[in-house]
Amino acid sequence: MTLAAQWLCGSALLGLPVPSDAAGIVDQFLRVASLRDYNTRVVLLGTTLLGVSAGVVGTFMLLRRRSLMGDVVAHASLPGVALAFIVLEAVSPGMGRSLTALLAGAVLAGFLGILATVAIRRYTRIKEDAALAIVLSVFFGLGIALFTVVQNLPTGNAAGLHHFIYGKAASMVADHVRFIAAASALVLTLCLLFFKEFTVLAFDEQYAAAQGWPVLRLDVLLLALVVGVTVIGLQSVGLLLVVAMLIIPAAAARFWTDRLGWMTMVSGLLGGLGAAAGVAASAIFPRLAAGAVIVLASSFFFLVSMLFGIRRGVLVQAFALRRSRRRVGRHDLLRAMYENVESSVETDGSPEGLDLTAQPVAFDRLLATRSWSAARVRRLLAAAQREGLVTGNASSGYRLTARGAADARRVVRNHRLWEMYLITYADVATSHIDRDADEIEYVLDPDLVAELETALSRRRADLAMPASPHAIQEDSACHG
């Protein structure tokens, strides 16, 4: 008998008739959707609760960069289950099926796995990822070896053990759900109570320690929650996939929010939804294993979040990038217009004295200002005309509108202040320079901006002309 066969046999779910045609599937769908069957209700409720608590605990694991810890716990629990079975069968044959005892074995072995990982990382020079890989595979290998022993035991009937590997939500009974509900309630309560403590632990462990928080004990508590969720999850999704319930909802939630409180709630919600969707789908299509469908449903939510998440979703970022490119183009054009007018008109040197709307700028002049292609200049001009910043045409030249002039003044001022900033504070880390910001004041402090303005006007007075590195040189003669 192979594992796969075991798993397929086990998936005649919920004791429902297997639908053979479309009508059957619809009927099945209605049965599941209306929660008519007691069994469906039980399994759905239990798995959803599990999904919620896994999502919540997973948030902290993700932020603590311990994503794979759940995987270690899950794999490490396998030899625990097998050993518990062997010991129980040895003590009193037939006892080995006691779920409580098997789960206790899983908990112990899961903790051992964590301890082993921590010990390897701490006392050797092996890095965390290698330590995780070693512990995970060694414990899993041991578990598989022990399973072989179990299968050859004379007392036999070790069939149910395989459900720990692939999971079998359908085998849940009301007792299990009560257990899961109680455990999930405990997990959620602890997360709520220690929200503040887990936050500081995940954000800044050293600071937390300096403040006197018992960092080690908090860590152990957090890992205990992971062990708890994992062991409960073994039953329904199996040890291979339980890590997905811990991490995928949390990773998905991060796309939607920048606040930890919301992230935790969204993660719990997505975890619950994914679990419920998985169980429902496997109830409608009984050949689907619940565990796999839960992971697939969660992945679907992850994909949706990644694309459409309002904080860091791909689309939002692509949109922001497009907008920023457009703005850069617009700013470049406005600046080119400004500088062309500025260099061809006699002024008193103050930007206020410059009438930007009077003087047309020829297309060729704009083309010569930057390394733009003619097509790009045309595109920029067309966009600026649509936005009402520029008027005119190729033959008469282009002129800034009143609005365009105001924008151009602002853009040029920001640009020159940033340049002044770079010249004055060239030694400073450049990470906070944001030339794209609408106003320099958004990024730099007002007193610093004032200082830059003073420096800029002083320099301008020295040069007796508005200085810009991009100023058109051929016309500077008129400034005498």
Partner: protein, 268 residues
């Protein structure tokens, strides 16, 4: 070899010194990185901790805060061990020590400085958020309270860290390179805050990299290179002679050993 300043007139009984380090040695992986540090911090003074990379400046602060074990020696904060005086010590870690992509805003980070006061398992209430906001205001960041921390500039992030320590209203502040990678406005803001702390009788030990600004910003200096080279008022101790001893040049035997140890990975 270790110079000490003359006892200053207002020096109190050592028991009330903000920070007393006695014979402290710290080792990483069995290699000592700090040897026999003996130090008495002057009350109400700004002290720069200065020394080359790998001199053990951060290690000194972390060892004082019990973040890394001491191989020997002891530390007293206002006459008691640090574990009994935590609320009186404000710690500003290096900015690079945390993940700024973490899903919290500036106010959340500052509120962390109040977590101990709030106590186990209690939420951050409006009352504490108000205190945190006031601390943000002190560092000129009140307008950024709701910003996600990754959207702050390096200098602004540093000021958030500073506010997190200020909110504690501590008596002794330990700051690890608060001036690194910040803009001029932030630098001025930090200096103003440090002076304000000093004027209210607080003490600050600040790991500082820019030798040029030491005399301008600080009253006292601690020159460190795995051992204490010199300590005392800036005008007495911050001399070319002492700086040579700290940074090498004509290396004393100890420096050479220290340098070797740094090269072999013993430094922090």
């Amino acid at each position: 070899m270790i110079q000490r300043s003359n006892p200053e007139p207002f020096t109190e009984h050592p028991a009330s010194s903000p920070l007393t380090i006695h014979d402290m040695t710290v080792a990483y992986h069995r290699k000592p990185v700090l040897w026999d540090i003996d130090y008495n911090a002057p009350k109400g003074r700004l002290v720069a901790i200065v020394g080359p990379n790998g001199a053990g400046k951060s290690t000194l602060i972390k060892a004082v805060l019990d973040l890394i074990p001491r191989a020997s020696g002891d530390v007293k904060v206002f006459g008691l061990s640090y574990r009994n005086q935590r609320s009186r010590v404000g710690y500003v870690p290096q900015r690079e020590s945390v993940d700024w992509d973490f899903p919290v805003n500036a106010l959340d980070v500052v509120a962390m400085g109040l977590y101990r006061k709030i106590g186990w398992c209690r939420p951050v209430t409006a009352k504490y958020r108000k205190i945190a906001l006031e601390a943000l205001d002190r560092v000129g960041m009140a307008g950024f309270a709701r910003r996600q921390i990754s959207q702050l500039s390096g200098g602004q992030q540093q000021r958030v860290f500073l506010a997190r320590a200020l909110v504690q209203d501590a008596d002794l502040y330990l700051m690890d390179e608060p001036f690194t990678g910040v803009d001029a406005a932030t630098e001025r803001a930090i200096v103003a805050i440090l002076r304000n702390l000093r004027d209210t009788g607080k003490t600050a030990l600040v790991v500082h990299h820019d030798l040029q600004t030491v005399p301008e910003y600080f009253d006292h200096v601690m020159l460190l290179n795995m051992r204490l080279v010199a300590t005392g008022p800036v005008q007495e101790v911050f001399t070319p002679e002492n700086l040579r001893k700290t940074y090498g040049g004509k290396l004393a035997l100890l420096d050479r050993v220290g340098h070797q140890m740094t090269l072999s990975g013993g430094g922090q």
